[in-house]
Symmetry: C2
Subunit: 369 residues, 2 copies
């Protein structure tokens, strides 16, 4: 990427009031802005229309898995597309743009697509921003988004922007591909293992940083970890959110992955549950290990958030890929992605005979990274 | 289309308070939610990045023209895509869904694309809606959108929905196509004429309907036209906004159109100006006629909005196509589209030698339809 993620946006350096926080301009943040899946499914049922793409044999992926693959009028040419947008979850505008882009394209990487043709940016400018704030903040967000889109090798465009009470950042990622380019996420085999390519806990990590402005909450944080550890926790979360899952998508082909999803708003358990439902074989996923960003669990314990994390229900943003892969290939996959991404991946579970459920074992192995 | 547009949503029939108006749930409506083009261009300049798609020879269409065409890795396979979303501008949720869909796909029709592969719906539910309002309103919006998408022959999907202070409706329309499928909007020839396929004035027409709740404004309306005429005015506007520009796109090929754009938020003049800028030859557009929905001008005069309409600056939503077409083909084009759409099209101007400007002649010919 052209520029490293930064968490050091200083409003006053740009002539903006010191107290300016990008995350103040929405009541919901990245992970919490989605209409719950159950509500959405009910609303779609009420329309009595099959809006989900399950209505043709060629297109089986819809609600639950975030990307949608469909054939075109050209032989062996399919289009795969995903749309995602959300509200700021960190305060640095450039880095927020990077995260938003990485989060959008992640849905295609989960299909093993690593050549993305086009990313169209979606942006709404907050109607509460002053003109000067618009002039400072918006170009930084766009530049962050663009830089990450370039790193993905995609053509990035933005055609228009709207005005909205909350700042909205996101996009549409599209790949026009042939059958060899994608891995339909439905072929998990008994005996496969589950690999996860990023550690968990970004929601708490982002909250920790916001709590610097909240004396009571900040005291709770400092009861658990030091100021410096809090800094490192947040930086690690941001670096992980900015990192593209591109290499993981590339290696899915080399190591013959059978299915994958990316881990975002529904937490590791929610996305594992979505993935297992799409499998053709009668399998279950058994999760024996959960890797967390270092010190996330300590903070979570101090603010009563530990159970949600251990239950696999804590929302993630721009999380890793959860991949079903032949057992014999998993170690090589993890080793190679570690070399490419300079960041660890873990075998966190197994694929067993079952009824399309997900189980986190008692006394799950906690990994801190 | 499966169902006709309706303007008769009755909240109390659905157990919602009588005063519920969908258009109350945003401060900006369809036409007013866009960041002005000049501001956007400035913001993009500040990023010092060429985000517009003018940076390759194959992709010349970006800001200003709403769709973006780009080559893929497959020979003679291009992807053309547009994204658009806005806030409710009428109160009937089903019909609002229809209009939003027609407005999204219109950008592709302007390229002569009449086979649209996929429409992905974008929806944000207003955080002020009660749970019951969500349950009533949302499925109607989705159903309207879906029905119009089906009429367009597209595969419609919705993968997720978000929560936002204002209700957002829109989508992404995509066509994977070969060179014969599209008409690059840059080949206007001297001697061509300009054809417009829908009458102007939907902003005022929608306002008129909203003013029924505003006694002072409503009195002004009734000084100009009757209650029944106001009803007809609004109905005509709604029917035009719901109507797809699909037949116009189809006929653009048959009658060898050289360039086209759709008329939306920047008004007829703004979009004509965008279109003329993209022409390869040194041309100007001379507009000699302006067709309006019947009685729009009378109301506009009563509320001081006539100048904006006559200047071609009044925003439209889901407006018609403005098409540069050989003079000898124009009458046949208009006749055939009238038969197909049961609605008139007009020759409104000429393409002459010039410096890529647009001129509305003095004493422009006013047509009421």
């Amino acid at each position: 990427m052209d520029q490293k993620p930064t968490n050091t946006f200083n409003p006053s350096q740009h002539g903006i009031k010191e107290s300016f926080r990008l995350t103040d301009y929405s009541d919901l943040r990245g992970w919490g802005c989605k209409v719950p899946q159950a509500v959405l499914t009910r609303l779609l049922e009420e329309t009595n229309l099959d809006l989900s793409p399950n209505n043709t044999d060629n297109v089986k992926i819809g609600i639950g898995l975030d990307a949608c693959l469909m054939p075109t009028r050209f032989e062996n040419v399919s289009i795969i597309q995903t749309v995602d947008f959300f509200y700021p979850l960190i305060d640095d505008p450039y880095t927020m743009g990077q995260i938003a882009c990485a989060n959008v394209v992640s849905d295609l990487y989960a299909f093993g697509i690593y050549e993305i043709d086009k990313i169209q940016m979606i942006l709404s400018i907050c109607d509460q921003f002053s003109e000067h704030e618009v002039d400072v903040i918006t170009p930084l967000i766009i530049k962050g988004f663009q830089d990450t889109g370039k790193a993905a090798g995609a053509f990035v465009v933005m055609q228009s922007a709207t005005i909205n009470p909350w700042c909205i950042i996101g996009g549409i990622a599209t790949s026009v591909c042939s059958q060899k380019d994608y891995i339909n996420p439905m072929n998990a085999q008994i005996g496969d293992v589950l690999v996860l390519t990023k550690p968990l806990g970004v929601q708490i990590a982002c909250n920790v940083n916001r709590w610097r402005d909240n004396p009571a909450k900040w005291e709770s944080v400092l009861n658990a970890i030091s100021d410096e550890e809090a800094n490192t926790l947040f930086d690690t979360a941001v670096q992980n959110m900015c990192r593209l899952n591109k290499n993981a998508a590339f290696l899915m082909h080399k190591y013959e992955a059978h299915a994958a999803t990316d881990v975002t708003g529904f937490g590791i358990l929610g996305h594992a549950e979505n993935l297992v439902k799409f499998q053709e074989q009668n399998v279950k996923f058994v999760i024996h290990s959960l890797p967390f960003i270092k010190n996330v669990l300590s903070v979570a314990e101090a603010v009563n958030g530990k159970k949600k994390l251990l239950d696999g229900r804590a929302p993630e943003t721009s999380g890793g890929l959860l991949i079903c892969i032949p057992k014999d290939n998993a170690d090589s996959f993890c080793k190679e992605i570690e070399e490419m991404d300079k960041s660890k991946a873990w075998v966190i579970g197994t694929v067993e005979t079952g009824t399309k459920t997900v189980e986190i074992v008692n006394n799950v192995n906690i990994i801190e990274s």
